[in-house]
Protein backbone atom coordinates (compact mmCIF):
# COMPACT_ATOMS: atom_id res chain seq x y z
CA UNK A 1 0.00 0.00 0.00
CA UNK A 2 1.29 3.38 -0.84
CA UNK A 3 1.37 6.00 1.88
CA UNK A 4 -1.07 8.85 1.97
CA UNK A 5 0.12 11.67 -0.30
CA UNK A 6 1.87 14.57 1.41
CA UNK A 7 -0.20 17.71 1.48
CA UNK A 8 1.64 20.87 0.52
CA UNK A 9 1.26 23.64 3.06
CA UNK A 10 -0.17 26.91 1.83
CA UNK A 11 1.80 30.03 2.77
CA UNK A 12 0.17 33.38 2.23
CA UNK A 13 2.91 35.65 3.54
CA UNK A 14 6.58 34.93 2.87
CA UNK A 15 8.84 35.94 5.79
CA UNK A 16 10.26 39.46 5.47
CA UNK A 17 13.63 38.33 6.84
CA UNK A 18 15.66 35.21 6.26
CA UNK A 19 16.75 34.61 9.85
CA UNK A 20 17.99 35.78 13.25
CA UNK A 21 21.50 35.96 14.64
CA UNK A 22 22.33 35.77 18.33
CA UNK A 23 24.89 38.10 19.87
CA UNK A 24 27.03 38.08 23.00
CA UNK A 25 27.76 34.36 22.90
CA UNK A 26 30.60 33.77 25.38
CA UNK A 27 31.09 30.09 24.72
CA UNK A 28 32.23 28.45 21.49
CA UNK A 29 34.48 31.41 20.68
CA UNK A 30 31.90 33.21 18.58
CA UNK A 31 30.99 30.18 16.47
CA UNK A 32 27.25 29.74 16.17
CA UNK A 33 25.29 26.74 15.01
CA UNK A 34 22.05 27.15 13.11
CA UNK A 35 18.48 25.98 13.43
CA UNK A 36 16.52 25.70 10.22
CA UNK A 37 13.00 26.96 10.77
CA UNK A 38 10.91 25.79 7.83
CA UNK A 39 8.61 28.27 6.13
CA UNK A 40 5.57 26.21 7.09
CA UNK A 41 6.64 26.40 10.74
CA UNK A 42 7.13 30.13 10.43
CA UNK A 43 3.66 30.45 8.90
CA UNK A 44 2.05 28.35 11.66
CA UNK A 45 3.72 30.53 14.27
CA UNK A 46 2.64 33.69 12.47
CA UNK A 47 -0.99 32.59 12.26
CA UNK A 48 -1.26 31.19 15.79
CA UNK A 49 0.87 33.59 17.81
CA UNK A 50 0.92 36.79 15.80
CA UNK A 51 -2.57 36.75 14.28
CA UNK A 52 -3.97 35.03 17.41
CA UNK A 53 -5.96 32.43 15.48
CA UNK A 54 -6.82 29.10 16.99
CA UNK A 55 -5.31 25.96 15.51
CA UNK A 56 -8.40 25.07 13.53
CA UNK A 57 -8.65 28.46 11.84
CA UNK A 58 -4.93 28.40 11.08
CA UNK A 59 -5.15 24.91 9.63
CA UNK A 60 -7.92 25.96 7.23
CA UNK A 61 -5.79 28.90 6.06
CA UNK A 62 -2.82 26.61 5.44
CA UNK A 63 -5.00 23.96 3.78
CA UNK A 64 -3.95 21.16 6.13
CA UNK A 65 -5.67 19.26 8.91
CA UNK A 66 -5.84 20.59 12.45
CA UNK A 67 -3.59 17.86 13.95
CA UNK A 68 -0.98 18.51 11.27
CA UNK A 69 -1.03 22.22 12.03
CA UNK A 70 -0.59 21.49 15.73
CA UNK A 71 2.39 19.24 14.98
CA UNK A 72 4.02 21.90 12.79
CA UNK A 73 3.35 24.55 15.42
CA UNK A 74 4.89 22.40 18.17
CA UNK A 75 7.96 21.86 16.00
CA UNK A 76 8.26 25.60 15.40
CA UNK A 77 8.22 26.37 19.12
CA UNK A 78 10.67 23.55 19.84
CA UNK A 79 13.12 24.96 17.29
CA UNK A 80 12.82 28.55 18.47
CA UNK A 81 13.27 27.46 22.09
CA UNK A 82 16.34 25.49 21.08
CA UNK A 83 17.78 28.53 19.33
CA UNK A 84 17.13 30.76 22.35
CA UNK A 85 18.49 28.34 24.94
CA UNK A 86 21.55 27.16 23.07
CA UNK A 87 22.28 30.51 21.40
CA UNK A 88 21.86 29.20 17.87
CA UNK A 89 20.99 31.32 14.90
CA UNK A 90 17.64 30.83 13.17
CA UNK A 91 17.50 30.46 9.42
CA UNK A 92 14.02 30.59 7.89
CA UNK A 93 13.97 28.47 4.76
CA UNK A 94 12.78 25.25 3.21
CA UNK A 95 9.68 23.19 3.82
CA UNK A 96 7.22 21.63 1.43
CA UNK A 97 5.07 24.63 0.71
CA UNK A 98 3.45 26.68 -2.00
CA UNK A 99 2.68 30.36 -2.06
CA UNK A 100 -0.73 31.79 -2.48
CA UNK A 101 -2.05 35.30 -2.92
CA UNK A 102 -5.31 37.17 -2.98
CA UNK A 103 -7.24 37.33 -6.25
CA UNK A 104 -9.49 40.06 -7.58
CA UNK A 105 -11.87 40.29 -10.49
CA UNK A 106 -12.50 43.46 -12.48
CA UNK A 107 -16.07 44.02 -13.58
CA UNK A 108 -15.35 46.56 -16.32
CA UNK A 109 -12.88 44.53 -18.42
CA UNK A 110 -13.66 41.08 -17.04
CA UNK A 111 -10.11 40.12 -16.12
CA UNK A 112 -8.83 38.41 -12.98
CA UNK A 113 -5.63 39.48 -11.27
CA UNK A 114 -3.75 38.75 -8.07
CA UNK A 115 -1.87 40.88 -5.60
CA UNK A 116 1.72 39.63 -5.30
CA UNK A 117 2.74 42.47 -2.95
CA UNK A 118 0.83 41.77 0.26
CA UNK A 119 1.89 44.93 2.03
CA UNK A 120 0.50 47.19 -0.68
CA UNK A 121 -3.17 47.51 -1.36
CA UNK A 122 -4.48 47.31 -4.90
CA UNK A 123 -6.09 50.58 -5.93
CA UNK A 124 -7.05 49.98 -9.55
CA UNK A 125 -7.35 47.23 -12.12
CA UNK A 126 -3.87 46.76 -13.62
CA UNK A 127 -5.33 46.34 -17.09
CA UNK A 128 -8.02 48.96 -17.58
CA UNK A 129 -7.29 51.24 -14.56
CA UNK A 130 -10.87 51.05 -13.37
CA UNK A 131 -11.59 50.95 -9.65
CA UNK A 132 -14.53 48.67 -10.23
CA UNK A 133 -13.07 45.43 -8.92
CA UNK A 134 -13.88 43.04 -6.11
CA UNK A 135 -12.34 40.15 -4.22
CA UNK A 136 -12.52 36.86 -6.04
CA UNK A 137 -12.32 33.36 -4.58
CA UNK A 138 -11.03 30.95 -7.26
CA UNK A 139 -12.22 27.75 -5.58
CA UNK A 140 -14.57 28.01 -2.68
CA UNK A 141 -13.73 24.59 -1.33
CA UNK A 142 -14.22 25.28 2.38
CA UNK A 143 -16.86 27.85 3.23
CA UNK A 144 -16.60 30.02 6.32
CA UNK A 145 -19.03 27.73 8.07
CA UNK A 146 -16.38 25.06 8.51
CA UNK A 147 -14.53 27.48 10.76
CA UNK A 148 -17.35 27.63 13.24
CA UNK A 149 -18.89 24.18 13.11
CA UNK A 150 -17.96 20.62 14.03
CA UNK A 151 -19.96 17.57 15.02
CA UNK A 152 -19.49 18.12 18.73
CA UNK A 153 -22.36 19.28 20.87
CA UNK A 154 -22.41 21.51 23.92
CA UNK A 155 -24.84 20.30 26.56
CA UNK A 156 -26.22 22.05 29.60
CA UNK A 157 -25.54 19.88 32.66
CA UNK A 158 -28.48 21.41 34.45
CA UNK A 159 -31.41 21.15 32.08
CA UNK A 160 -29.96 19.02 29.28
CA UNK A 161 -30.30 21.69 26.56
CA UNK A 162 -28.06 20.91 23.56
CA UNK A 163 -26.57 23.14 20.87
CA UNK A 164 -23.84 22.62 18.22
CA UNK A 165 -20.37 23.46 19.48
CA UNK A 166 -18.66 26.52 18.01
CA UNK A 167 -14.93 26.47 17.35
CA UNK A 168 -12.84 28.78 19.46
CA UNK A 169 -15.51 29.11 22.12
CA UNK A 170 -14.85 26.82 25.08
CA UNK A 171 -18.04 25.00 26.10
CA UNK A 172 -17.67 26.11 29.69
CA UNK A 173 -17.93 29.74 28.54
CA UNK A 174 -21.14 29.06 26.64
CA UNK A 175 -24.20 29.98 28.65
CA UNK A 176 -27.34 27.86 28.40
CA UNK A 177 -30.08 30.12 26.98
CA UNK A 178 -32.71 28.38 29.09
CA UNK A 179 -31.29 28.26 32.61
CA UNK A 180 -28.17 30.49 32.36
CA UNK A 181 -25.93 27.61 33.44
CA UNK A 182 -22.44 27.13 31.98
CA UNK A 183 -22.38 24.31 29.44
CA UNK A 184 -20.05 21.31 28.92
CA UNK A 185 -19.02 19.20 25.92
CA UNK A 186 -21.38 16.29 25.35
CA UNK A 187 -19.84 12.83 25.57
CA UNK A 188 -16.75 13.76 27.56
CA UNK A 189 -16.12 11.99 30.91
CA UNK A 190 -16.86 15.30 32.62
CA UNK A 191 -20.35 15.58 31.15
CA UNK A 192 -21.21 12.03 32.22
CA UNK A 193 -20.83 13.04 35.86
CA UNK A 194 -24.01 15.07 35.68
Amino acid sequence: MSPRPFRLRKISNPAVISGFKPYGNKKNGGKTESVFLHLEEYEALRLCDYNMLNHHQASVLMDISRPTLTRIYARARQKIAEALVLGKQIIIEGGKIYFDSEWFSCSSCGCYFNNPEKQEEIKECPLCKSTNFSNYEPIHDEPEESLTRCNDICICPDCGFEQPHRFGCPCKEEICPKCRHNMVRKGTPHSRNF
Partner: protein, 105 residues
Protein backbone atom coordinates in the same frame (compact mmCIF):
# COMPACT_ATOMS: atom_id res chain seq x y z
CA UNK B 1 7.36 48.90 -15.73
CA UNK B 2 7.54 45.88 -17.99
CA UNK B 3 4.51 43.78 -18.84
CA UNK B 4 4.57 40.41 -20.59
CA UNK B 5 1.64 39.50 -22.84
CA UNK B 6 1.28 36.02 -24.30
CA UNK B 7 0.72 36.31 -28.03
CA UNK B 8 -0.09 33.81 -30.76
CA UNK B 9 1.94 35.66 -33.40
CA UNK B 10 4.74 38.21 -33.63
CA UNK B 11 2.79 41.27 -34.74
CA UNK B 12 0.53 43.78 -33.04
CA UNK B 13 -2.48 42.31 -34.85
CA UNK B 14 -1.98 38.84 -33.41
CA UNK B 15 -4.39 37.59 -30.82
CA UNK B 16 -3.82 37.06 -27.12
CA UNK B 17 -2.71 33.46 -26.57
CA UNK B 18 -4.89 31.71 -24.00
CA UNK B 19 -2.06 29.48 -22.77
CA UNK B 20 0.93 30.68 -20.83
CA UNK B 21 3.57 27.96 -21.00
CA UNK B 22 2.95 26.98 -24.61
CA UNK B 23 2.09 30.33 -26.16
CA UNK B 24 3.62 31.30 -29.51
CA UNK B 25 5.37 34.52 -28.52
CA UNK B 26 5.85 36.68 -25.47
CA UNK B 27 5.34 40.39 -26.01
CA UNK B 28 7.43 42.36 -23.55
CA UNK B 29 6.02 45.85 -23.35
CA UNK B 30 7.58 48.69 -21.38
CA UNK B 31 4.91 51.11 -20.16
CA UNK B 32 7.43 53.92 -19.62
CA UNK B 33 9.48 53.88 -22.81
CA UNK B 34 6.61 52.41 -24.89
CA UNK B 35 9.16 50.02 -26.33
CA UNK B 36 8.23 46.45 -27.11
CA UNK B 37 9.82 43.21 -28.07
CA UNK B 38 8.52 39.86 -29.32
CA UNK B 39 10.29 36.79 -27.97
CA UNK B 40 9.54 33.46 -29.65
CA UNK B 41 8.70 30.83 -27.04
CA UNK B 42 11.19 27.98 -27.32
CA UNK B 43 9.07 25.83 -25.00
CA UNK B 44 6.08 25.84 -27.33
CA UNK B 45 6.35 22.16 -28.21
CA UNK B 46 8.01 20.96 -25.00
CA UNK B 47 6.77 17.65 -23.65
CA UNK B 48 6.68 18.86 -20.07
CA UNK B 49 7.94 21.69 -17.91
CA UNK B 50 6.97 24.34 -20.46
CA UNK B 51 5.45 26.50 -17.74
CA UNK B 52 8.45 26.80 -15.39
CA UNK B 53 10.80 27.27 -18.36
CA UNK B 54 8.60 30.08 -19.65
CA UNK B 55 8.55 31.69 -16.22
CA UNK B 56 12.33 31.67 -16.24
CA UNK B 57 12.38 33.28 -19.69
CA UNK B 58 9.94 36.00 -18.68
CA UNK B 59 11.48 36.59 -15.24
CA UNK B 60 14.91 37.12 -16.81
CA UNK B 61 13.43 40.22 -18.55
CA UNK B 62 12.36 41.68 -15.17
CA UNK B 63 8.70 41.89 -15.99
CA UNK B 64 6.29 42.78 -13.18
CA UNK B 65 3.01 41.72 -14.76
CA UNK B 66 2.00 38.90 -17.05
CA UNK B 67 -1.21 38.94 -19.06
CA UNK B 68 -2.44 35.58 -20.32
CA UNK B 69 -5.61 33.57 -20.65
CA UNK B 70 -4.70 30.99 -18.07
CA UNK B 71 -1.95 30.02 -15.64
CA UNK B 72 -1.22 26.45 -14.60
CA UNK B 73 -1.08 25.27 -11.03
CA UNK B 74 2.75 25.03 -11.04
CA UNK B 75 3.07 28.54 -12.39
CA UNK B 76 0.86 30.24 -9.84
CA UNK B 77 2.99 29.37 -6.84
CA UNK B 78 6.18 30.07 -8.77
CA UNK B 79 5.05 33.54 -9.82
CA UNK B 80 3.77 34.22 -6.31
CA UNK B 81 7.22 33.60 -4.88
CA UNK B 82 8.80 35.78 -7.60
CA UNK B 83 6.24 38.52 -6.85
CA UNK B 84 5.10 38.82 -10.44
CA UNK B 85 1.49 39.82 -10.87
CA UNK B 86 -0.72 37.52 -12.94
CA UNK B 87 -3.60 38.95 -14.94
CA UNK B 88 -6.03 36.38 -16.32
CA UNK B 89 -7.80 37.80 -19.36
CA UNK B 90 -10.19 35.36 -21.01
CA UNK B 91 -10.76 37.27 -24.26
CA UNK B 92 -9.20 35.22 -27.08
CA UNK B 93 -10.35 37.73 -29.71
CA UNK B 94 -8.40 40.68 -28.26
CA UNK B 95 -5.30 41.69 -30.19
CA UNK B 96 -2.00 42.73 -28.64
CA UNK B 97 -2.60 46.28 -29.87
CA UNK B 98 -5.93 46.48 -28.03
CA UNK B 99 -4.39 45.22 -24.80
CA UNK B 100 -1.55 47.73 -25.05
CA UNK B 101 -4.13 50.47 -25.61
CA UNK B 102 -5.89 49.34 -22.44
CA UNK B 103 -2.63 49.50 -20.49
CA UNK B 104 -1.99 53.02 -21.77
CA UNK B 105 -5.47 54.37 -21.22
Amino acid sequence: MKVAITSSGNSLESKLDQRFGRCGYFTIYDTETKGMEFIPNANKDAQEGAGPASVQLVASRNVQKIISGEFGIKIKSLLDSLKIQMIVFKEPEKTIQEIINMLNS
